[in-house]
Amino acid sequence: MRILTMVLSLCFVASAFSQNYKFGKVSKEELEETVCSIDSTANAAYLYKYRKSYFEYIQGEGFVLKTEIQERIKLYNQEGFDYATEQIRLYKGHGGSEEKVSQIKAYTYNLENGKIIESKLNKSDIFKSKASKYTNEVKFTMPNLKPSSVIEYKYEISSPFLSNVDEFIFQHNIPVKKLEARFDVPEYFNFKVNIKGFLSVVPKVENERGSITFNNKTRTSSGQGLSAVTRTNYSTSKVDFNKQVNTYSLENVPALRDEPYVNSINNYRSSVKYELSYTKFPNATIETYSTTWEDVVKRVYKSSSFGEELKKTAYFQKDIDALISSVSDPAERVVLIFDFVKSQVKWNGYYGFYADDVRKAYKDHVGNSGDINLMLTAMLRHAGLNANPVLVSTRTHGIPLFPTREGFNYVVTWVKLPDGSVTLLDATNKYSVPNVLPFRVLNWQGRIVAKNGGSGLIDLYPKTKSKNAMNMMVKIDEEGTLEGSFRSVRTNHRALSFRNSYNGADKDAYLEKLENRYNGIEISDYEVKNDKELLKPIIESYKFVKESQADIIGDKMYFSPLFYLKTSENPFKLEKREFPIDFGYPSITSHRVTINIPDGYKIESIPEAAAIRLPDNLGSFQFKILSRGNTIQVSVTSQINESIISPIHYEALKEYFNTFIRKEAEQIVLTKA
């Protein structure tokens, strides 16, 4: 056994040594590999991924941010060919400054009859295009691919946007065998490092010396008149400086795979983001960008698109004064102003916590999330309320783990009433009400930006359970046809999502869709109450007929007590789970069903009552049933008490769903009397 271990480790060392990561040094072994050694399901893998970013001083231009990329990718099969197309996005600023890519070199390597054959990417097969006003795009795809090809490319990006260092991404949808990254920072810059993901990634930090060479040209003239001689002197001067070198070296990084009920898989992807905190150039004062949450908030507050926009009142003053003149109750004022903004300014779909121009948004009745909610905050303040903006990272944007401005992409409004109660508002959605924010906003915590530039945290996950309480009175006949009435009451997010899809939809089409969702139930007397009265729960009711709701075998009838409303599919199918399960909000769903059985039948048996519970009071399920004479009464309640559940409870959650699906499927038996 020991010998075997020895041999194995020797092999490992040997194979590790045979790797040469220099550009162009692709080995036969790499080409011969048919299945990824660290993940047999991988269609492709990075054999080597390298990135170096550094600042270069260019005389006459100043510092530029340079990034060198080199990647070697193994394609194990045709599905892996998707990784053979590289897309480089280059940003353009307002004033003509833009990122540029150069030195693109790329080769495909194949093994043919034991020989390594390389195919070069031609310049003519690299495509440049103007993707939008602010982005250029350079794209290429590798030539001559075969399953088992290795591709390799490198290029350099040069950027004038010094504070915008792209995230270093360490984990991909395919595994990475070897990764090296490096970021060199001259002493004039100070960056904050933000590490996220499930892998442990620690940079090695060292100091090195660097220098800038200036070429000086001086012209001197000597002599006079015709005999004058002009002479140009060249001289050089050198400035030395310190630079901090951050290096990362990783091996065998597993692939990141998506799972259902994850708010954004990028929250769990391993990466490092450098955010500029300050610059200090010789003979200049320190210019801070961000270091702590307080700094971030201050900077955001100070910026003209935030603090200044928040201060403007003249554009709305007259309208708001008129609106609230007869109302003095602070809570009523909040509702009035909130509704006013919702009706006056429509969201254009753009995210952001900065306003483009609140005045213009007000005038044009259209704005981004910054325009709308900063305007709302300013109006509330104008009405004498204690209101502040709250910086938010939306669900798809990830979790703001570190103090950065880029951690946020959205803003909502916080208001505190004299009685101490706190309310969150978002006027971008027509149907949103106080403390019921659009689903996109329900993500961890937001940061309140106080008037003095101070800050505090506020939980964005709702505390109140969103309810859907359903009542059904039904009669089943001996053919198994169900006839009855249905009524449901929805609150909070359940009501919000109902209004989002119902209000504004064609009513007939909506009804048809509803009927078809339940496989052709026939609905009549359909009615929705409070669809426009947002502060009240949604009440939906209808009468219906639904066929084939019981199995009739011999002289018996069998059916499950929730009929077509029972849950039939477990949303959790994966055997294992790595990431938290994010429901967005806590919820409670209940059914109360009263069943009248057909004449000539009697109740033979009904399922037993049952209750199950998730650990740590995360949720519970209750099933109660009663029969009296020709009537059966069923009450089923399930609730999830938390917005987000840790993956350690995945097994329990999956089993919980299995159990309650099984319980809901249990049968009532009737016999011919």
């Binding site: 399901t41 099969n77 045709q78 599905e79 060919f81 197309t85 195919s119 097969d125 495509f127 295009s129 103007k130 993707a131 939008s132 006003k133 795009e137 794209k139 795809t141 030539p143 001559n144 075969k146 795979r257 429509k346 969201w347 254009n348 779909g349 044009d364 009745h365 259209v366 504004g504 939809a505 064609d506 089409a509 048809e512 009927e515 078809n516 496989n519 052709g520 026939e522 066929e547 084939s548 199995d551 075998i553 011999g554 018996k556 069998y558 039939s568 599919e569 477990n570 199918k573 994966l574 055997e575 033979e604 048996s605 299995n658 699906i661 099984r662 499927a665 249990e666 049968q667 038996v669």
Partner: protein, 636 residues
């Protein structure tokens, strides 16, 4: 068809400013029948095309659209494509509120300008300018005006007054004028129930249609593009990327395509030519040769779309595909054709409309049509062979639902001709299930199943071959989603490309499969292939019924009953037969502990009047019900 001809000798001069009528811009002046099912209404639309010569086309489009809700926003359709040949001269949009008051003006420079590549395209030199407008309230009205000039005249935009579901039209007109010496042909489709006005002068043709009601999408109906009213327009002389030609018939068209776009691209490098020749050496059968070449292509190239200049119409040179190992449908089809030629097998470049709905090339209207290219290998005796050259996975001769059963344009050196592609018949699209299931005394199930799929049912499944185990596991849990708590024990997949059969061997188990109630057990008989689909119900069906493809399922499942139970009562055998298909269920009692469940379900393709829809839906409903049948067991 009601077509009104007006013969007017005077030349009509069209002056373009805003439409004169004011009530066009208010949202309240629309007739009621146009509001039904409409998210938006085209109030007035005009397309004015001036063919100045065979190589210059001038287009002015004006459209006033009233939008009633969010779903209708896209119907404003304020989009213009442009490229090196097509220039935008004028572009403007005006927005009006419900009362017809102008509230916004959007100038050319305020339109968004982006590259017109979609997800599947690496590069295209086509670009698009579009209006991005956030409505403040509904309804609102947009007037959109664009003016373009184009050196390509091969595509003349058709008169397509309604281009979407839930869109109605108050009035829409189309005019094309052309110089002496150029003839313009038109073809009208699907105007049977509309009042179409047609006016033909000696150098112009115009059409006008009024009051077209909105239609809403319905299950199992012909696709929108097949049933929408449309007038095709083509000029007998046109220019494409500087190449001029004259076309009167499909034969001319095919000749032009072959000689101007295809022939001179066949510069196959000598190395590959000899590789192909040695690949097929000794093979005498043409089909066997073609199979080898097709495999060679599938191993060598992949689909990547690049559209530059004439390359948007003409395939890449064969040598380029050979070097790059990629190309779009034109490039890959043409490459395969060149390799087949090197192997001594004749094949033809073929233009089709691709997609699941079987849209045909218009037989009697020779003009630029289609959106995809495949390859035809003619067969003297028997059906022609069709090759999809963009797939690295499909078996030889299999085109699936992407291009099956439709008229296509086959291009030969002698000219073009229309042929019909392969149709997958009901009996060919066969799925056979053979399974055994054991039920325990506790109601748990253990099942072993072999599923063999052919024809269109092969098409539905062959992609499973390249799924990872994790995704495949989830796939089967979804396929049998009606079994709660299912866990997969084994999955083996065999894609038999030679016989075009997809074979799945799966075993799984689940506790609590059948319900135990006191002394009884209720056992659902159809374990492996339960139909749970019922077509949508409509209060009043408007569109005809179309079943695009038929299929046949045959299931034989042996069920071992739990040892402590015996049969108390069993469902009756079922046999249904109607014009839509048939359904048979038979239960065989093999011995006291074994039953055999036999099921056959056939759906036939075809076109039926809308009155038949309910019957079709009832058929599916009945099948769902029968598939839910249970046998009652009782403790011995």
């Amino acid at each position: 068809m009601k077509v009104k001809y007006f013969i007017v000798s005077a030349l009509l001069l069209l002056v373009f400013s805003a439409f004169p009528q004011d009530n066009l811009y208010t949202s309240y002046s629309i007739p009621d029948d146009l509001l039904e099912n409409a998210n938006a209404v085209v109030r007035k639309s005009s397309i004015d095309i001036t063919l100045k010569s065979a190589s210059e086309m001038h287009v002015i489009e004006k459209r006033v659209v009233t939008v009633f809700n969010k779903q209708g926003d896209d119907n404003v359709d304020a989009i213009v494509y442009y490229d090196n040949n097509e220039r935008i001269i004028e572009l403007q949009a005006l927005v009006f509120d419900a009362f017809g008051k102008q509230i916004k003006k959007i100038k050319k420079k305020d339109f968004k300008d982006v590259s017109a590549v979609d997800g599947g395209t690496l590069y295209s030199d086509s670009r698009v300018k579009y209006l991005e407008y956030t409505p403040i309230s509904y309804p609102y009205t947009v007037e959109f005006i664009s003016e373009t000039t184009n050196r390509n005249t091969a595509f003349i935009q058709p008169f397509y007054p309604v281009n979407d579901y839930h869109l109605s039209v108050e009035s829409s007109s189309y005019n094309i004028s052309y110089p002496q010496g150029i003839a313009v042909r038109t073809k009208e489709k699907n105007f049977e129930n509309l009042d179409l006005e047609k006016e033909e002068l000696n150098s112009s043709i115009s059409f006008k249609v009024k009051n077209v009601e909105a239609i809403k999408p319905e299950d199992y109906s012909p696709s929108f593009s097949v049933m929408a009213p449309r007038i095709l327009v083509a000029s007998n002389q046109f220019s494409l990327e500087g190449v001029k030609t004259k076309v009167e018939s499909w034969n001319d068209f095919g000749k032009w395509m072959y000689h101007d776009l295809i022939k001179n691209t066949h510069d196959l490098p000598a190395g590959t030519r000899s590789a192909i020749q040695s690949l097929v050496e000794g093979e005498t059968d043409d089909i066997e040769k073609a199979k080898k070449v097709y495999q060679f292509v599938q191993d060598k190239v992949r689909y990547i779309s690049v559209q530059v200049g004439i390359g948007g119409w003409k395939p890449f040179n064969v040598s380029k595909v050979d070097r790059l190992g990629y190309g779009d449908c034109k490039a890959l089809t043409n490459y395969t054709m060149a390799l087949l030629k090197a192997a001594g097998v004749e094949s033809y470049y073929t233009v089709v409309y691709a997609r699941g709905s079987q849209r045909s090339i218009e037989k009697d209207f020779a003009a630029m049509q289609g959106n995809h290219v495949i390859l035809n290998i003619p067969q003297e005796n028997g059906e022609d062979i069709w090759l999809e050259c963009t797939s690295q996975k499909l078996p030889f001769g299999f085109i699936g639902d992407f291009t099956d059963d439709r008229d296509a344009l086959v291009i030969t050196p002698q000219g073009g001709r229309i042929e019909h592609t392969k149709k997958y018949e009901v009996e060919e699209s066969l799925q056979t299930i053979k399974g055994t299931c054991n039920i325990s005394n506790e109601g748990a199930i253990e099942a072993k199943v072999t599923v063999v799929s052919k024809g269109i049912q092969y098409d539905d499944k062959y992609w499973l071959e390249s799924e990872t185990d994790r995704d495949l596991d989830t796939h089967y849990k979804k396929r049998w989603r009606y079994i709660n708590g299912l866990s997969i024990d084994a999955m083996v997949i065999n894609n038999d490309r030679d016989n075009i059969e997809f074979i799945e061997d799966v075993s799984f188990k689940a506790s609590n499969y059948s319900k135990i109630i006191g002394d009884r057990m209720l056992l659902p008989l159809n374990v492996l292939n339960r139909n749970r689909h019922v077509p949508d119900r409509y209060r009043s069906r408007k569109l005809p019924l179309q079943i695009k493809r038929g299929f046949k399922d045959v299931d034989t499942v042996e069920i071992k009953l739990p040892t402590d139970y015996k049969i108390e009562s069993q469902p009756k055998n079922v046999s249904i037969e109607n014009k839509y298909g048939s359904y048979k269920m038979e239960l065989e009692i093999k011995d006291e502990s074994t039953i055999i469940y036999n099921r056959e379900f056939i759906v036939r393709d075809g076109d039926f009047p809308k009155e038949d829809y309910d019957g079709f839906r009832d058929f599916y409903k009945e099948v769902s019900k029968q598939d839910n049948a249970k046998i009652a067991l009782i403790k011995k």
